[in-house]
Each structure stands twice: as C-alpha cells, then as structure tokens.
Symmetry: C2
Subunit: 491 residues, 2 copies
C-alpha cells in the first residue's frame, strides 16, 4: 500500500505527522503555521463540538460571539495577561491595499494606517470583560455563563499539526459571578465537564490537578487542568479551567451592586479546549496501521465491504448490504457501503484501518449462503463470523465494547507508565529511560521547578486534586514536602 506509515517504535513523531496527513485529518497550508483541517478531520472535530456544546448547555451555559480583533491597549490593562499573551501575536496595522505604482501587484496603502493597532485574539478575556462592563450593574445580572466557539491566533515559532498551530479552533467559556465561592465552584465544575468528556468521548483517562504558579494562565489566580498520557510516554494538557479572581473586573472596572447594596468587583472564570484534542485523540489510541477512533467520535461507525468475483455476486451482496446498512442507520449509526469497483477489498481494508473506522463488515458469496458476515474490530484487529440476523443489535453492543476497550487500554497504559520516584536517581531514570508520569516530592519553589526542567526537560504537569498529604523530601533539594506532584515531559 502506498500509504504505509512509519512505525511508532521507529519514530513516534514522524508516525504522528504522517498519520495526520495520510488519514486526511489535516495538512499544512500555504500560510506559515496555519493548518487546513480536512473534511475527515473536521467531521471528528464536529463530533467533539457537539458533545461538548451539549454538556455546556446542560450546565446552564449559552453561546455568544465576540470580535476577532482586540485593541492593543486592552492588553496593557491586566499586568500578568500582557506578559503572557500580547507578545507573540498577529498585529493588524492597516485597513487597505492599493495597486502598486509600478503596476505589479498590490501594496499596503500607507494612508490607511490604523490609529491603534488591532491584535488578532489569542484569547478573549480582555474584549469580553470590556463588554461585560455594560452588561453588569447589579447582582441580578449575575451569573453570566457565556461560551464562544472561535478561532484564535498565537504566533508560535515551532508548529505541529493540531498540537501547536498559529491559528487554532477552540471554545472559550467566560463567566462572571457575584462571589468568589461561586466562581471557584464554576471553575471546578467545568474541569469536571472536561474530564468527563475526555474519558467518555475521547476515551482518554485524565488526571485532574492544579498548575503550579509557573504554569498558570496569565492573569489567573489558579489554573486547573486535565493531563493525559500519550503512547510515547509524554504528557499532553488536554484542557484548562481558570479561576481569574477579580483581576479582569479590576482591569476593566466591572462592578456590581451586591444584594447588600454595596459596589463590588465581579469574580471571573475562563476555560477552554481546542483542536489540540484532535492531537490527543490520535496520539493516545492509534497504531501502526493508522487511526483508532473511539466510536463516540467516529464520523462513520461501520464500513461494509463487498467481496465478489462476478457482477452478479456484487448485485446480490449489495442488496443484502444495503439492508444491513438501513438496519444500522435505524439504530442511529453512520454507515458507509464501499462498493467501488476501482479498488480491491484488500486496498479498502487497509484504507479503513488507516482512517480508523471502528467496525468493518465484509460480505462474500459464502456469507450470503450461510447467513453470516465477517466482522473486524479496528481496536483489536480481530475478526469473527457473526449471524446476519440481529446484526444491528450486535453492532450497537460491539461499539460500546470498543469504546470501553479503547479507554481501558489507555488506562492500563497510563497505570503501567506512572511511577513513584523518591530520589533524584530514580527520577532521572524514569524520565530518561522509561517516560510516563512521575509522582514525586517537590519543595514548592519556582526555582526548583525550573532547575528540574533545565536538567531533565520534565515539568510539573499538575498538583493532582486527589494528592494525599504525606511527609517527603524534594527529589532535587531534599527540602521537606507535604505532597507529591506529577512530573512528565510534555507536548
């Protein structure tokens, strides 16, 4: 097959890059760092969006849309935020082009210079809090629970499809609350939504935790995250939820009249996940044959491939295949019947393995006689013959089983690749020789965190929410520590 992939063992990074392109998920565009999300990749993203959007709405959120552009001065209003976000960004300086005087092409019209430059949003806290100022007068206007599906731009120097691109798609929730407690509750609730989505839809187990101060969102008092482990032993941050305190309310002067009749600053949260999840999906489950997509996010659940020699056989098989297709569609499944005569069954099998269709049904003349079909599972690559009778219920159950199996496999992998290290030697051994998560004591200082990173490239992924108190010693400095934190090399 022309589309043969590099094996994960040989070069994991190359395997990923090739797979994303060959499975038609995405490709690089003519614009540096920007990707084209191809129809098959976008169909998966749409499934993610639909599931998340429903979860947001079920928890009381509504969607809205705020401008792509942010006036430059807005970034200067929140001190920490400007450091984190306003630096590497796309800057609009002019609003007109004109024909070049030499008649060759078009040039920027210097007469059309903006008085104030506009930044393409890297994240929308500033423009949204500038808007909320007008929406909020009293406690009766609170809470505001808005989400936005949008594109954002961060001028990354080293980009990689889905994992790090200059432009990416995401959702960003921005909520406003009357009390600190309510804002923290919201922050934690949305972290829970992300964890549930990751585990139930992406089939990726995640660790919920808090970021250290170093790794916090610029402008947040506390950043919660979910961290996942990829097959190469590197961690991937799959979603973040920020408790912003009153920082943005103060920066944009957003006060409300409390039910006690006092003017108070509003409390804020923000939370987001992005097309980065597409990268997590690929890297957590896929294998050397191609994508493995959890059924709940698969654009197609089933492909039916006819095996035939004569036109007459194809006609007979097609009739039965379309019957089965209809049965499955009545169960809400998405089914493709590939009766192309231009490609051989073997080619098709490889193609749908590459694309990660969860279930493949093959049907030949013998199957028609016996009243059976051959079913192949993408997750285990196993095959079996099954009665055509009752195939719809069989496949519905099978898809649930596949979803669960993919999750369990990822969970087993994570369990097997999570280690405790109690001293520097153990720590370095895991990071350098094994990979995976390392649970270890740390003295709580930014300096130590930085030094560990410089020595090993491992960072503190999070302080797990379920971390138990215990007495220990920092793996680097030996200073006392009360809690283990989770280290890993990360994407």
């Amino acid at each position: 097959m022309a589309k043969e992939l590099t094996k994960r063992e040989e070069n994991y990074s190359q395997w990923y890059n090739e797979l994303v392109v060959k499975a038609d998920l995405a490709e690089n565009s003519a614009v540096r760092g920007c990707m084209v999300i191809k129809p098959y990749g976008y169909a998966i993203w749409e499934k993610m969006q639909a599931a998340l959007d429903k979860m947001f709405k079920d928890t009381g959120h509504v969607n809205a849309y705020f401008p792509l552009f942010i006036p430059k001065s807005f970034f200067s209003k929140e001190a920490a935020h400007v450091e984190g976000f306003a630096k590497e960004c796309a800057v609009v300086t002019h609003y007109r082009l004109k024909n070049a005087e030499d008649g060759k092409g078009i040039v920027v019209d210097e007469d059309a210079k903006l008085e104030e430059e506009l930044i393409i949003r890297p994240t929308s806290e500033t423009i949204i809090w500038n808007t909320y100022k007008n929406w909020i007068q009293s406690y009766r206007d609170l809470p505001i629970l808005c989400n936005q599906w949008a594109n954002v731009v961060r001028w990354e120097m080293r980009t990689r499809l889905f994992l790090r691109t200059a432009e990416f798609l995401w959702q960003e929730g921005h909520t406003a609350h009357a009390t600190k407690e309510e804002a923290i509750e919201e922050t934690e609730k949305m972290l829970g939504v992300y964890a549930k989505f990751a585990e139930e839809f992406l089939a990726v187990p995640v660790i919920k935790g808090l970021k250290t101060e170093n790794e916090r969102f610029a402008g947040a008092l506390e950043t919660y995250c979910i961290e996942a482990l990829m097959q190469d032993g590197k961690a991937l941050q799959a979603g973040t939820s920020h408790f912003l305190g009153q920082n943005f309310a103060k920066a944009f002067d957003v006060k409300f009249l409390s039910n006690q009749g006092k003017q108070e600053y509003v409390w804020a949260t923000s939370w987001g996940v992005s097309t980065r999840l597409m990268g997590a999906l690929v890297m957590a489950h896929s294998d050397d044959n191609g994508l493995v997509i959890p059924p709940k996010l698969a654009p197609f659940h089933v492909v039916i491939v006819p095996i035939y020699k004569t036109d007459e056989q194809l006609t007979q098989i097609s009739e039965k295949a379309l019957e089965i297709k209809k049965l499955l569609e009545d169960k809400g499944l998405s089914v493709k019947f590939d009766d192309r005569t231009t490609h051989k069954p073997g080619w098709k099998f490889a193609e749908y393995e590459l694309k990660g269709f969860p279930v493949r049904i093959a049907m030949g003349p013998r199957d028609l006689e016996n009243g059976t079909v051959e079913i192949a599972r993408r997750d285990t690559l196993t095959k079996e013959f099954v009665n055509a009778e009752g195939i719809d219920e069989y496949i519905v159950k099978l898809l649930d089983e596949i979803q669960e199996n993919i999750y369990n496999k990822a969970l087993k992998f994570r369990t097997e690749n999570t280690f405790k290290a109690d001293n520097w030697e153990e720590f370095v051994d895991v990071i350098e020789n094994k990979g995976g998560f390392v649970s270890a004591h740390w003295d709580g200082t930014a300096e130590t965190e930085e030094e560990i990173k410089n020595k090993t490239k491992a960072t503190i992924r999070c302080i797990p929410l379920d971390s138990v108190e215990e007495n220990g010693k920092c793996i680097l400095t030996g200073k006392p520590s009360k809690k283990r934190v989770l280290f890993a090399k990360a994407y």
Copy 2:
C-alpha cells in the same frame, strides 16, 4: 416599559437599530465596525446554522476549515477578484509586540515585520483553490464539495448591526467539478437550498435570479442570488451562489486528468450566506412591539407566565405549569417558565413580545379552576382561552400555523409591493413614493444601469430566473428589451 421602541412609521432605520439592541440580539463592540452577537441573537444564528448545515449535508457536502490568513500575493492572481476584495481589508504586517521603551504600555516590534503581509480573509476562494491544487489530480478526485463555517472581515466604512459589519460570520461553500454543466448544476442547486431555507425557516419569500455583470461577485462568470423585500420597501440580498468557471483553477493552476486522459482546468462554484440573515429576519417580520420570530428559528417556542396574588396560588399554578412544560418538551419544544417574583406579569408580557417568543401561555387561579389556559400568539397579538387538556398537540399545530402565517404575511406584503413600470415616470413614482420591487424593462447595458442608480438610488436586484420573454422598451433609454428585470432600493 423602559424598553419602548421607536415606531416603524416614524423612523424605520432607528426602529431596527433599537430593536436589535433592546431585544438582546447584538450590540456594537469597542472595535470599530465589529459587533458582539449576544446569547439570544446567537441562539437564533445557531438554529439557522443547524438547519442550513443539515441541508448542505443532505446534498452531499462536507465541512472543512481553511486558514484565516491569506498571503497578499494570492489576491493578485485572479484579476477581477483583487479589484473586488483586496482593497478594503485588514492587513497583518507584524507578529510581535514589545514593551514600550518609556515603560508605558506595549508597541509593535518593528523587528517582527512579516516578509509578506497577510490579509484577513474577506472570502476564501484564493486560499482554498491554492489548497485544492494538491487535492486534485484526476477526475476521480472530483467533485469536491466543501463548506466552511467561518468569520470573515471586510473593512466597511459605514456599518450596521448584522447588515454590514467589518467582521461577520458566514458559511462559504467551495466546490470543484470536472465539467461546466456539473458546476452550473451545483450553483443552481445551492441557490435552491438557500431559497428553500429562506422560505421554510426564515419565512421570507424570495426571488431567485441572476445578478447583472455590474453586481456580480468579483471573479464569477455568473452570480445567482435570492432577493427579499423588507417592510420599508427596500430589498435585501439574502444569499448568493456563484458559477466561477475556470477562473480560480487558472489562477492557481488546478488541472485534472479527465476520463478522456486529457489535462483540463477544474470548474468551480462558491456560495454563501451570513449573519446578514439575522437582519433580514428582524426587518421582514418584526413590529412596533418587538421581534416576531418564525417558530422554526425561535430559541424558545413558548413562555409560560403565572398570574397570581398569593404564594399559595403561585405554588398551585407552578405545579400545573411545569406539567405543561414537560408535555411540550416531550414534543420537542423549547419552553421557558418565568416564575420570577421580581417582575409583574405585564412587564413579562412586554418582555416576551419584545423578544418574539411565538406563543405565550398565561395561567391564573381561574384557569386552574376551569382547566384552561390563556394563549397569546406573537404574530397576530391575539389571545384565546384553550383547554389545558391536549394543550401539547394544540400548540404543536399552532406553531405550524404561526410559521405559515408569518410567511403568508410577508408574501402578501411583497405581492402588494411589487409593481410593473413601463416608462420612466411610472418607475420614478414607485421608487420615490411607494418603495418595493419594480419589474421593468432595461436595455441590458451597464451604463444605463449605472445612470438609473445615480438618478434614483435603485439598482437591478436581479434578472429573475422565471422572467418571461416579452418585447418591451428600456424605461430610461427606450431601447428594445426582451425581459423585465427587478429594480429596488436595497440594503
């Protein structure tokens, strides 16, 4: 009520601006020409998106995503296109900011100047055809039937919420075909989809037609459009579908190997509708009390308002109201029960009229006794008492009736405001004194079209597809004409 609107008769334009803001659809943002689409407005847009997206998919299209940025040089490749689109646009020239040397705020880092400026997409033909070049080798790769939901930017000098904004949301379909016939068929098919959407969902009757050369999309061989009539007698272009010929294939060198074994240029179409439809929705149906939303696009179909004096009454009414709410929700309807004790029923009635909820149910103690509810229709502002028994089926039917009635009302208005003019005096009389569509003969020249526009502000909205051949004389020049075209002042 604090939210009283200007009346349409007094000042239609002001009525529109006020209504969009007061009904919480959208508002101006801090960025010149860019709007914030508020949750209630966005909920209507989401309904439009869902209906259109389904229609696109049912006709074989898939979604994808292409970059926000387009290299400046891409625009120079298609001669007509650059004239139409590359002039008034947002230009990204730099990719970094830095702290100002005086310590005050941030400034553009002149060291981070892009080698080639990037344009924020005003429309995506160029970047998409540059991409399609790599997707298309042979006739087997065709057709490509992609759609994109995205934001675009056109630097308009005079903006108006929804109708004309610097940034707006839209969908743009971009298809590639092996033959001219197939591309034209696609162009017409998508015009049909738009017309169906406008009539069945927006409840706005539209005229399908062709644009004159003057009004054609920059780069198209033929632009098809749907034109709607607003309540002030002005027309609004509600969607366009372009037959692009081989222009973009030639500009980006996109050829395919035909099934005859020849290298040929690919044929193209593009088609789009935008958040402008929100403006059409408001202007076609709403009245001096507020929005009138066709049920198929209403975020909520029904509001239930309790009428009570004592807490005990409220408790009893609430019980019954929640029962009815559940019944209606089981029929797939969206229902709000407004039991706020902070607002009087009269205030609530006005609020939901302003917001355009299609049906209001009021329930008081007397209704509980009698087993009735009071139902008010937003479209006719009529009320009636109805048996609570069987209310769910009653309302499902009523919503269909309302949808139909809103459409019929708009159709009647259009019929009454479409005139024939056979000479200049008649023409000017209609344009200046009556408004509406004028069906008239035109000599087919761009000069005459331009002169009519300069004299009257009326433009040719389209050459209707169902226009019949007849001999006539151009209203301005008296030269012979074979067909009537449709004139109007337009948004």
